[in-house]
Point group: D2
Chain length 142, copies 4
């Protein structure tokens, strides 16, 4: 199945760069997170803060994140983040992110997130829930 | 009145520094925030997450923050943050922070925070409350 | 003198918000910093990483930053940052920032920065330099 | 071969936590980075800012980072980060990090870093270099 790809452009900010002059790696995980929310908004038509109430979940908490850094990004560089679903599993899913600078792939990574609701017996705990088929369907590439 | 001074040491981290090699200024506001919580814990003997429940407030939200940066702090430099109450007003207070590197004052700043509870009629709104005298008393220097 | 106003829109990101659900204050100082660079680019037509080489300076280091937080900004809120020169002094200047959410002024702050070059005798040290009149002239409102 | 384990304690800060009340995941990558530098300092007896000059490299840039998040860490929670070498390869190495809250493993991750020097022909480029055997030897568990 081909999934919708969300794209956004960013310019690397001074405060995101380290003494080597490169975007510090933790910032890419921030970029991924924001792109994941934006992908959900693009697919589902629901603003991120309303995601929980709309689908009766508490959120889409992250359980795994990883990235490979192939080329440095400097202050002022313009990058484009392409984000898409890598896989839907029963109650979790993987979001893939690729960051391009022109034609060069500079960072590649993924996030695994859970479709999570509050436990009925203990609302302070989360439990995973099956992702509704109509949610999955809306991520299909147009 | 002389107030308790909280001191803590920090080493400037790589990811906190910018391409000039200096701690990026937003990080000092993070340091101030953490020192403000630590000052409260030292004075009141209450762990920060329990502050709200203990004093029937929702928190001590920040309404003003400022800092002067007098000398750069580099990756690996050890600094000491001294934090104390500048002033208690009726329902707000000022926390003063001075950051020393050896005998050199490198950053000086302050935060103004409000003693805030939920509005009775609209719990989503905050309203300031008078700071209890026994809270103020516990900040006296020993 | 009326100065150019730079405006940019931002959406508050999940990772910028604290457990109260509001954008954590240090992030606003990051927003200010990025807007200051963008104002310079808009006025001078020089990409931020080339600012130093173009004007024979090492940068525009910050020596003072302050902000008043008048209303909270939540995850997903769209804000608009308006940035302009508050004042040019001989070798320093003040940048004023106002953050609007619709018609509500939610944050107001300023940065003081220095027009700084390397000391001739000790390149590791910075010294302030007079801001060239033609630099100042380019910040005039159109 | 058994390698030295570096341990440090941290308390989760307010500004590190997201609206769910948990430490935001990008912060764990900051914690990993700081622990990696501290592990190097513990093994080599060289302060991180002097690492480059001491070993004639420009640094130990990150090329891969990953983490699994098994349980949330809340504001005020005390965690302990255990960091050690997972593997030395010819010119790169893996650092493993485990974060414990009491007896519970809450985050597990790794970083792959390169022993990198400036390219002789183009100092703006980095090239990997073989890790000296005496560097590796100093990471042996005592």
């Amino acid at each position: 199945m081909a999934y919708l790809v969300h794209r956004r452009r960013l310019t690397a900010e001074w405060g995101h760069c380290d003494p080597a002059g490169f975007v510090f790696h933790s910032r890419f995980f921030e970029y991924f997170d924001t792109s994941a929310w934006a992908l959900f908004e693009a697919a589902l038509g629901v603003a991120p803060p309303q995601l929980g109430a709309t689908f009766d979940i508490v959120g889409i908490p992250l359980v795994d994140a990883r990235a490979r850094f192939m080329a440095p990004v400097h202050f002022g560089d313009t990058i484009e983040i392409h984000s898409t679903i890598g896989e839907f599993r029963r109650s979790s899913f993987q979001v893939q992110h690729r960051i391009w600078m022109g034609d060069t792939l500079v960072v590649e990574g993924s996030e695994t997130r859970v479709w999570a609701a509050a436990d009925k017996d203990d609302p302070a705990k989360l439990e995973s829930r099956p992702i509704p088929p109509d949610v999955i369907a809306r991520f299909a590439a147009p």
